[in-house]
């Protein structure tokens, strides 16, 4: 028994010994998207060039990641040296002084090469607070073969009416072909990203100039009814729980006729190893409703350094490496041009090699056509295409997303969903002090 006691104490002490200390280890929080996973595999290149710096990866699913890094940066927890964040967070965090300015990156980094639309979204008061790892807009991806079968032809810049007609024509539910796959899973970065961007093209907006919510307006009614009718007629079953990833899987397995989503998806759906339909995909700009705005968004997954890190110099080295021109070349050499993280640098789109990639032109055209400073038909007090850059937005939009998702599932009507959305947005905006 004495032995047992001793073993017990020994084991307890053993468990208390902290992790061994290393030279200088950067802890990098990132999202589990394909391009980041690829970066993780290529880090030997960085560690070889920068001896003495070790990299530690924390790869998380998007929502978990967002919750973890936000908690950490807001409480100054200091668990991460580099964080992967998006166009929504950067302006808010930058303004609060939570991020390290990246203006002093070396000249060889060529900061002016970053696409102006993307760079603008990551800059506050002339300080670049995050370096874009990849940028994206949204566009239509469609099956050329099914479009042909339906006897239709996709224009480069389709209208919503065309999309609706084509989707219904392509649908063949008996053979599990659904004309259009759209996001339905609740979340501000899921269905609300799509619906907010879409609503812009229908002339809707989140708030008027006095921050009054606008869900009771006619354009929102049109947007939501259009979306729900279309999905009921031509969408896959279970659409209310489909997000980006679920739709990607559906498209790759050949079950969608069209899919309107992030431009980065283009490289996944044309990758013969993972996609059954790799050679049959065409691309078009996101649709419009003739009001001068297209339903495409703008987003950049970016690397930022939280203020207060002890390892700023190493962290900057890493950020510069991961978002450099050389990194793009490295990926091209290892994995081919189609897999290069898109949408960040003008030089990439000037490269004749890259121009051969089938989705290159449509991606850059989509990015260039998004305008976060003037996202809507009418003027609004906020910036952001598929989001409103205020701290309260993600909470509100996720609750609104729940309502719209319930309407898509058929549990409530579109009108009910809109009036619920209006009420809950009003409540939250009141609580936050925007409106009295």
């Amino acid at each position: 028994m004495k032995k047992f006691t001793r073993a017990l104490i020994g084991a307890t002490i053993l468990s208390m010994i902290a992790a061994p200390a290393l030279a200088e280890t950067l802890t990098i929080a990132t999202v589990n998207n394909g391009d980041m996973v690829r970066m993780q595999k290529l880090t030997d290149d960085f560690t070889a060039k920068n001896p003495g710096i070790e990299l530690e990866w924390v790869t998380l699913e998007e929502n978990v990641l967002r919750q973890r890094v936000t908690t950490d940066v807001a409480t100054k927890g200091g668990q991460y040296d580099v964080m992967t964040i998006g166009t929504y967070e950067v302006p808010i965090w930058g303004q609060k002084g939570w991020l390290v300015s990246l203006n002093d990156l070396p000249a060889s980094y060529d900061i002016d090469d970053i696409l102006p639309a993307i760079r603008g979204g990551l800059t506050v008061d002339d300080n670049l607070y995050a370096a874009p790892f990849y940028g994206e807009s949204s566009m239509v991806m469609y099956r050329k073969d099914l479009m042909e079968k339906a006897g239709m032809e996709m224009p480069d810049a389709p209208t919503w009416d065309f999309i609706a007609k084509a989707a219904r024509a392509m649908t063949d539910k008996n053979n599990e072909i659904y004309g259009v796959c759209l996001r339905g899973k609740a979340g501000w970065g899921e269905n609300m990203a799509f619906l907010t961007a879409t609503s812009n093209s229908f002339g809707a907006k989140w708030f008027d100039m006095d921050w009054n919510p606008q869900f009771d307006s006619e354009p929102w009614k049109k947007t939501l009814n259009f979306y729900i009718d279309l999905m009921n007629d031509a969408g896959p079953p279970g659409a209310s729980s489909n997000g980006f990833n679920e739709n990607l899987a559906l498209f790759q397995s050949g079950k969608c006729g069209m899919w309107i989503d992030a431009t980065v998806a283009a490289s996944f759906v044309t990758d013969p190893e993972n996609s059954k339909v790799a050679d049959k995909v065409g691309f078009a700009l996101a649709p419009d409703a003739g009001l001068g705005k297209r339903g495409n968004w703008l987003w950049a997954w970016s690397l930022a350094i939280p203020a207060g890190t002890q390892k700023m110099e190493s962290a900057k080295k890493f950020v510069a490496w991961a978002t450099s021109k050389e990194y793009l070349d490295l990926v091209a050499a290892e994995e081919g041009w189609a897999n290069v993280p898109p949408g960040t640098r003008a030089s990439l789109y000037a490269n004749p090699e890259y121009a051969k990639v089938p989705f290159a032109k449509m991606t850059i055209d989509s990015i260039n056509s998004a305008d976060p400073k003037n996202p809507t038909v009418d003027p609004v007090p906020y910036v952001g295409v598929q989001f409103v850059a205020i701290p309260e937005f993600q909470g509100i939009a996720t609750s609104v997303g729940q309502q719209f998702s319930a309407a898509l599932a058929g549990n409530i009507t579109a009108d009910q969903a809109l009036s619920n959305a209006q009420a809950l947005t009003e409540r939250s905006m009141k609580k936050a002090g925007y409106i009295k």
Partner: protein, 276 residues
């Protein structure tokens, strides 16, 4: 009743029980099988059960992406460490409650259990701030402490129900022989309570191993256990059923195997005093 009649009953019960058992086990079996398929085979319609080309590719890919063994080791340290520490605190407490009951003992016990009903999300921010200020964020020590506190009420209660079944006369006799309190606990009580302690230990290792809220929120890289490992597969891009299955299998296999090997010990003590 004739012999053949009994045999007949036995055959029927065997068939029914095995069917039910396999049905309940099926999701795990299916995950295991899927982990050896290619992504295309994983979503094939109609589904394939065994007639596919078995591949280890998914495991390779999962290991390449995340350092499985470090997560695995963290899981072991955290679950075993918190359970042992919990036992160290709980054994004396349970002893005292079982053998020197006071008027309020029952209330204290019930109060302890009620602390388990605190919704963890409600107190995450305070704990996070405390951990930040004490430097416990992303340390195994920190996670050991939190999981100890979380499971302590269950440990105490399980042990208490055991100790209560031990007849007091034996302790009385030991005391007559001049045994000290310490000796009483170590030499008399503990051996008698080994089955109870063993199953408490096992149950708590399982609970700690599967705890996903605190372990995920208070760890980053150094201390992240398997629950964090699985969080990076919860919805990756593209077809992912096979990789998800491989990661799932890797996350649950150790505890499943441990559970199977020790199920006799686990079951013997898993009564919470419900059996007289």
């Amino acid at each position: 009743m004739s012999n053949s009649n009994i045999d007949q009953r036995k055959i029927v019960f065997t068939i029914v029980a095995w069917s039910v058992g396999i049905l309940i086990f099926f999701p795990i079996l299916w995950t295991f099988l899927t982990s050896f398929k290619t992504e295309a085979e994983a979503i094939a319609s109609p589904p394939v059960f065994l007639g596919f080309d078995w591949t280890m590719e998914n495991y390779g890919e999962v290991q390449e992406r995340s350092n499985y063994f470090r997560h695995f080791w963290n899981s072991i340290v955290i679950s075993v460490g918190s359970t042992l520490l919990g036992l160290l605190i709980a054994i004396p407490a349970a002893w005292a409650m079982a053998f020197v009951p006071a008027k309020r003992t029952k209330d204290v016990l019930m109060w302890m259990l009620s602390t388990k009903m605190l919704p963890p999300v409600g107190v995450l921010i305070p704990i996070y701030l405390i951990f930040r200020d004490t430097g416990l964020l992303d340390t195994r020590t920190g996670l050991v402490l939190v999981l100890t506190m979380i499971n302590l009420p269950i440990i105490i209660w399980m042990l208490y129900t055991y100790f209560k079944e031990i007849p007091g006369e034996i302790l009385e006799a030991a005391r007559m022989d001049g045994a000290t309190l310490f000796a009483e606990i170590v030499h008399v009580l503990t051996p008698m309570a080994v089955p109870g302690i063993a199953s408490t230990l096992l149950l708590n290792i399982i609970l700690a191993w599967n705890e996903a809220f605190w372990t995920l929120n208070l760890s980053a890289a150094d201390a992240a256990p398997l629950t964090a490992f699985i969080a990076s597969y919860s919805s990756p891009e593209g077809l992912f059923y096979a990789k998800l299955s491989a990661a799932s299998t890797m996350a649950i296999a150790p505890i499943l195997i441990m559970g199977w090997f020790s199920q006799k010990q686990l079951v013997r003590g898993l009564t919470f005093g419900a059996v007289k």
